[in-house]
Structure formats: C-alpha cells, structure tokens
C-alpha cells in the first residue's frame, strides 16, 4: 500500500482515468468541479478568507471599544470614504456601523467561515476518504452546494455597500429590531442578510443530504458503523443537525423577509410605536416566535461548530499519542445523544424573555443533560492521553490545546445554563467569553490542527514545523489574553454589543460596583487581538509557501496513521483509491501488542 508520492501519481492516473481519459479544462477543474476533494479545497480557501475578513471586522470594533470616540487609525478614513459619513463620521465608528460590523462578524464567522471550513472543507475532503468511498454520493449536488455557499457569501459581502449598510441587528436578527431599523430603505442590509441566509441554508441542506447519504451508502467493504473513524461519526451527526434544524430558520427567514418587504406582521405585535410614531402595520405577530425559530437552529448550530472540531481533534490526537481513543463507543453514543438533545435545549438562550417555572425547568434540565455527554467526550479524550507516547508537532499542539480551551468554554456554559445564575450573566461579556472559548481557541484550533495534519495528503508537502509552532505559541497566548478578561468584565456587569465599550455605564458609577478598571481591560484586549492577528502571519506564510516549496512527503502515510484517508495515493486522484479499499479492523489500532509496527492500518490485511 505504501508507495512514494511520485510513484503514486502515475499509478493513480493509470488506474482511475484508465477508462475515460479526459482532462477537464480550467472551469471544469476549479469552478465546476464535482470532485469532492476540489470542492473541499474551494470551501476551505473561501472559508479561511472569510475568517480573516471576520477578524478584521472585530479588530476595528475592538479598537472602538478600547478608545471610544476616537478615529480608527488608517482604517477609519477608509471606512468613512467607502461607507459614508453616517456610518463613520471622521473615521469614528458610529453606533450603526458598530452594530453592523458586530452582526456581520457573528454571521460571517459562524455561517461563512467556521461551518464551511469544518463541514464543507474537512468534511468534503476527508469523509469520503475515511470511509473508503470514491466520491460523495451526489457529486453534482455537492458542487451546487458550494455554489450556493459562494453566492450567499457574495450577497453578504455586497450588503456592506447597500444604502444604510449591512445588517445591524446582531447575528440573531431579532424582530422587531430587524424589521424597523431601516424604515427608509426597505431593501436594506437586513434584506440582503435574509437572502444570503436562504442561500447558505440551501447550501447546507444540499451538503447535509449528501454527507448523510454518503456515509450510509458508500462505506467500503468492512467499514461497519463501529469501525468508522470518530471524525466520520461527528460529520454524520452534524449532517443531521443541519438537515433538520436549518429548515425552521429558513421558514423564519422567509417570514421576516415578508415583514420587511410586504409589510406583513409575523413578528410584529399590535401597537408598535417606533420613533414616536405608530408603525402602520396590522400587528398580531409575535416577536418571541422569531426567537424560538432562530434558536431552534441556533443551538444545534453551535454543535455544528463543535462536533466536527472534536472529530478532527480526536483523529489528530490518537495519531499523535500512538494509542486508540479511550472509550470510542461511549464517545459515539455521546455524540449521538448530543445531537438528539441539542434539538430540545434551545430556549436556554431565552430564559429572560419571560418564562414561567415549568418551561424554564424543562429547558435547564435538558441543558444540564446535554452537558453530560460533552463531559464524557472530553473525559474520554483526556483519558486517552494516559499511557500514550505523545508527539508534539504543530497539528498535535493545536489539537491538545483544544482540550483545555474547549473545557473552559464548556464549563462556563454551566452557569449560563442554570436560569437563576443566567439572570446575572445574561448578555454580559461572560457570554461572549463563554462561547468564544468554544469557537475561537476551540473550533479554530481544531481547524488549524486539521490543516497541519491533512496538508501533506492534500498537497504532497509538509508545512514548516517551526513556523507552525510559532503560530501555535502566539495563538494560544493571545487567545487567552483576548478572551479571559471578558469573564471579569462579565462579572462586573458589562453588557455585550455596546459600541462605546461600556463608558456610559461605568463612567464612575459606583453603585454598579463597577470601577472603571474594566474599561482598562478593553485596552489589553485590543492589543492582544492585534497580537493574535500578528500570530497568524507565520501561518499564512507557511500555508502558501508550503504549497510550492514545503518538504515533500516521504510516503503516502507520513504520519503513520491508520485510517483509510492515508491509504490513498498523494494527493488522491479522481476516484481516490487504487483498487477497492477494504476495512479489516477498527480505526485506531495503534500500538497493538504483538503487531510488527506501532500502527495497524484499517486497510492492512490481517
């Protein structure tokens, strides 16, 4: 099975293209490709670019928080020129611009960066390889899925330049705010946002149908359910989350679109008086309905962010500790119960919209229940480390640091999950700290781990280890400097989404118990965020230079891994495998006593 890379190239082309040898042209290869690997790469590159864009948005915001009322250096005048005086007079970010950057940061990070990179990129590239499939089950749907995603991204991006600017009602787009922010331009940023979301949802639906069907139908011979790598399980459950949780948001999006464009009142109650005047709508709608429909997606969505990330981490860790995952089965059952439970916890985001004891108890009970399988998964990963022979490389460093980072994020979910303590913490910076620990040092680290890990398979070249470690050190240090202070700010009662960084509340207001010290933390966060950005430079350099001049892989299986993705030629040709892959054993047979090497690939005949 082990061939050298150059040899692999030839053999692959021979066998896979043997029957119909036609090279697709540029468009066929890069834009209208139906090959899951190319689609994965398309997703990956677009999503990383959006990640960078989302970061620039937040950087501008963090500057405003640290130095409210002062012009943003360099960028400020540019913003004023591009987006107009209303938005950034004199280079100072106004409230509206702050809100629209905030909403778009959330939207872009979640729907255009992290989900696409985890599900679209890694999911597409790795899942079929790991189950021994020649491609996704519906390659053309797969292509359509990417195109919808891309179009959605274009719409979202274009919305910055509409009159009135991009959506500015938070990534949650609560009605009535979303419907009444701009009564002048009815076709406003919010409308773009909704259209963009409908496209992104369509993309996710196509993707999830494809993933689930692929995993059900195209597992190769011997690849029974319990021999699937954990990553595949994570993708499988994620697929169901997207499949069943997204449509209600699509429905809600259509309703809000009607409210905005056709004057209906799905989410607008009677007697609204906006800006001192009665709003001329029929009323009779319910603002809470939007929230229910949004969070029905919103909560499963956060597991969409974390499950594939845990999947990647599990792969990288077991490979680098040279040991099977401890408690693989319980991890699988946990991931299934997380998937199931995540559909019935959503109202923990709505405790303070007014809830009676019965409903609140139901939702906090399910919320506590869902934390248990998360604890089990994390515990299993921690325990796996015991007795391992851990290698520290860029991929494993990121994967290992994922564990405590996700731990912190998950643990801080608990006081939010109890409704009574959420009274104090709701919508404070504690919440921001909580979820960024899961999505930023959590999910993003998993993404980095995945990039370092699969890069050699995708390009045939290694990434530079020194730059990688530099990237890791800077990232983990500054990540914590950015997000840890937020817990303190939260405890001091600082609210999120405040364009003045809290000056209105903390301007010496002693009764709040707030001393202006919290405001100083904003400064620290700003500099740390800049540091975080700088720490990504080694990565970007590494990423691009390694494509062309990285060290060539010595074999098709440079990490001496066990799963089927490493049993392909490098990079895998169209059709992926040379000959029919067969799985003879479980996914993580490392250090099997009595085996000739410390890894026994799934595809190796017993």
């Amino acid at each position: 099975m082990q061939t050298t890379a150059s040899h692999a190239h030839t053999s692959a082309t021979d066998s896979a293209h043997g029957h119909a040898h036609h090279e697709p042209g540029f468009f066929g290869k890069y834009i209208f490709s139906t090959d899951h690997k190319m689609i994965g790469i398309q997703y990956g590159v677009s999503a990383l670019l959006f990640l960078l864009f989302g970061f620039f948005l937040i950087l501008a915001m963090r500057y405003q928080l640290a130095k409210p009322g002062t012009a943003i250096p360099l960028v400020g005048p540019l913003l004023e020129k591009i987006l107009g005086k209303d938005m950034a007079a004199g280079g100072v970010m106004g409230g509206d611009l702050y809100n629209s950057f905030g909403a778009m940061h959330g939207t872009i990070m979640v729907f255009l960066a992290i989900v696409p990179v985890l599900f679209g990129a890694f999911g597409n590239y790795v899942t079929p390889l790991q189950i021994g499939a020649p491609d996704m089950v519906f390659p053309r749907l797969n292509m359509a899925s990417f195109h919808c995603y891309f179009l959605g991204g274009v719409v979202m991006f274009a919305s910055f330049f509409t009159p009135g600017g991009a959506a500015r009602s938070g990534w949650t787009s609560y009605s009535p705010l979303a419907s009444v922010t701009d009564l002048v331009n009815r076709f406003d940023g919010q409308t773009y946002w909704l259209i963009g979301m409908v496209l992104l949802i369509t993309s996710s639906l196509l993707g999830s149908v494809n993933f689930i069907a692929t995993i059900i139908q195209l597992r190769c011979r011997g690849m029974s359910w319990m021999r699937m790598p954990f990553f595949v399980w994570a993708q499988f459950v994620t697929g169901f989350l997207l499949l069943l949780a997204f449509p209600p948001l699509e429905a809600a999006g259509l309703m809000q679109l009607m409210d905005n464009l056709f004057g209906s009142s799905f989410f607008l109650p009677q007697g609204l008086v906006v800006d001192g005047k009665e709003l001329g709508v029929s009323g009779g709608g319910s603002p809470l309905l939007w929230q229910h429909l949004f969070w029905f997606l919103g909560h499963p969505e956060v597991y969409v962010l974390i499950l594939p990330a845990i999947g990647i981490v599990a792969e990288v860790i077991s490979n680098n500790i040279r040991k099977p995952l401890w408690g693989y089965r319980s991890m699988v059952y946990s991931v299934m119960s997380i998937g199931f439970l995540s559909f019935i916890v959503w109202a923990h985001h709505m405790y303070l919209t007014g809830m009676g004891t019965k409903v609140a108890t139901f939702f906090q009970t399910t919320t506590m229940m869902i934390s248990i399988p998360s604890v089990i998964i994390l515990t299993a990963l921690f325990i796996s480390l015991w007795g391992g022979s851990i290698r520290f490389n860029s991929a494993s460093l990121f994967a290992l640091s994922f564990l405590p980072m996700f731990g912190i994020g998950g643990l801080t979910g608990l006081p939010l999950g109890f409704n009574a303590s959420d009274i104090f913490l709701h919508d404070s910076y504690y919440v921001i700290g909580h979820f960024h620990y899961v999505v930023a040092p959590g999910t993003m680290f998993a993404v980095f781990a995945g990039v370092y890990f699969w890069f050699p398979k995708i390009t045939g070249r290694h990434m530079n280890e020194l730059l990688g470690k530099l990237h890791w050190a800077g990232s983990i240090f500054f990540m914590n400097c950015v997000f840890a202070p937020m817990f303190i700010q939260g405890f001091k009662g600082m609210s999120r989404r405040m364009s003045d960084g809290g000056t209105t509340y903390f301007g010496g207001d002693v009764a709040m118990g707030g001393d202006p010290g919290v405001l100083k933390l904003n400064n620290m966060i700003l500099w740390s965020a800049i540091g975080l950005g700088i720490s990504q430079i080694p990565f970007i350099i590494n990423f691009f230079s390694s494509i062309f001049s990285g060290k060539r892989v010595a074999s098709d299986n440079p990490w001496q891994a066990t799963t089927l993705d490493w049993a392909t030629p490098t990079p895998p040709p169209h059709g992926n495998f040379v000959g029919e892959p067969v799985a003879y054993r479980g996914p993580y047979e490392y250090s099997v006593p009595g085996a000739k090497s410390d890894f026994s690939p799934q595809s190796e005949k017993p």
């Binding site: 499939a133 519906f138 689930i212 949780a245 699509e250 319910s286």
Partner: protein, 286 residues
Amino acid sequence: MEIPYTYKARPDTGLYNAKVGIWLFLASEIMLFGALFSAYILLRVTAPAGFWPDLALAWPRGLLNIPIGTFNTAVLITSSVTVVLAWASLKMNNFARFRVYMVMTVVCALAFLGIKSFEYNDKFSHYVVRLKDGKSLTGHIEVDGRHPRFWNFDDQWSVAKLTEKKIEKIKVEVDPPRDINGHVKKHEGHGSDAHPAQEVAVSDIESMGSYTPATHPFFAVYFLITALHGLHVLVGALVLAYFAFPGAKMWKSNPEQFINRIEVGGLFWHFVDLVWIFLFPVVYLL
C-alpha cells in the same frame, strides 16, 4: 471510478442512493413546512380578540374559496395517483402508458397553479374597509369604475391614496354576512343579490386594506405557505416534465436507473400532495 449503488440497492441498507437522498430531503421539508405550520398555530392561538373586524373572532375564518380549494385538492390527488401509475407502467414495461400518465400529472400540476393564481387575484382585489363608526365591510371594491388588479401596484388602494387622488366615493360589493364560524348565513343564498354594491364615502373610512399579507397575519401565513407550496408544485412539474420528455432517453440506456428516477420524482410529488392534504383543511376550513 463509478459511484456504487446509483441504481442497485446496497445490500445492507436495501436502498439505492437517490432514495436515501430523497427521504433525507423530505425529512428536512417536513421541518420546513412544520415550522410554518407551527408559526401559523402560534399566531392564531395568541391572536388578540376582536382583531379581525368582520367577526367577533380574533382570526378570520372561511374567507377562502372552498369550492375552488376542494377542486384543487382533487386535482392534486389525481396527479398523485397518475404519477404512481406512471411508475407502475414503467415497471410493466409500458413506456407509452408511462408517458401518458406523466403528461396527465404535469397537466394537473399546471391546472393547480392556474387555479391558484386565479384565487390569488381574487384575494388581492378583496378589501376589508373599516369605517369610522366602528363597523366594517368586506368585499370587492370598485374605484373609478376599475377593480384593483394585483399585478398593478398603482391599483392597490389605501385611504391616503384615495384622498390624494381626490376620490370621494368607492363602491363595495359587500360579501354576504357570515356567522361566528365564518359560514355564510344560509338564508342569504347565493346569486347576484348576494353581492349588493354599496357606496361608501371615503371620508367615512377609517382604514382599508386588501386581502394581502399586510392586512392580517392570516393572509401573511396563507400567502407564504401556499406560495411556498406552489413553488414546490412548479419545481416538481418541471422535473416530471423533464423525465417525461428529454430525460426519458435514459429508458433506453439504463432502464433501472430511469425507473428509480421516476420513483424518486414521484416521492417528491406525493410529498407535495401530502402538504396540501394538511394545508387545505387548516387554512381553508378551520
């Protein structure tokens, strides 16, 4: 390398790929329409009393055209049976019969859409006119000898617009009175006298609006769900039409896969029918 199980069933699941795909897709469609139905029920349950002026009810009932709705239901059910017969014909190796049934299906789909658009137009030109004395009238209106048309936005009237155009009187062809359940009162009967035209002075009107999404959440729900359903009908009709003609080439090259395609297309079509089976009683009758 070919993708396996495109037309042969995979032994352990017993299913071919497209069938897995379509059922997954339908599951997501259940959630989509399910969310809309949930929204409808929630809005209706929490609607404030007296919100719809015509009846002492929060929610308008019986405003949609039941005979037409019934007819459309029958049309859709017919199309559902013809599509399954089309599939059965292929199974029995009778391509000609397959094509006949498929064409019938598509014709039914188009008939359904045609009738639906007729209904839409009727609603857009139907008005609720709230008078200053607290009473209200519903019916088609006539302004300046013209009936509003929904494709013409200049034709959508409001008090402000009437005043601006210096129109002083409009004519309302008042609907027959209804009882509390929204049923037309029996003794009123049908026929021309059921629509007495009544002149109304614009100065007496508090507000008015056609039966459009902006007038009441009921119409918003009605239009949203039926339009989304209509879109499904349209897409389904296009796909089935494709299978009946250009796509039918596959019958020669790969009959098994072609039959599967018809089955999958049929599954989608039945689902569209299923949605309507619930939609019809819920929005027309309840």
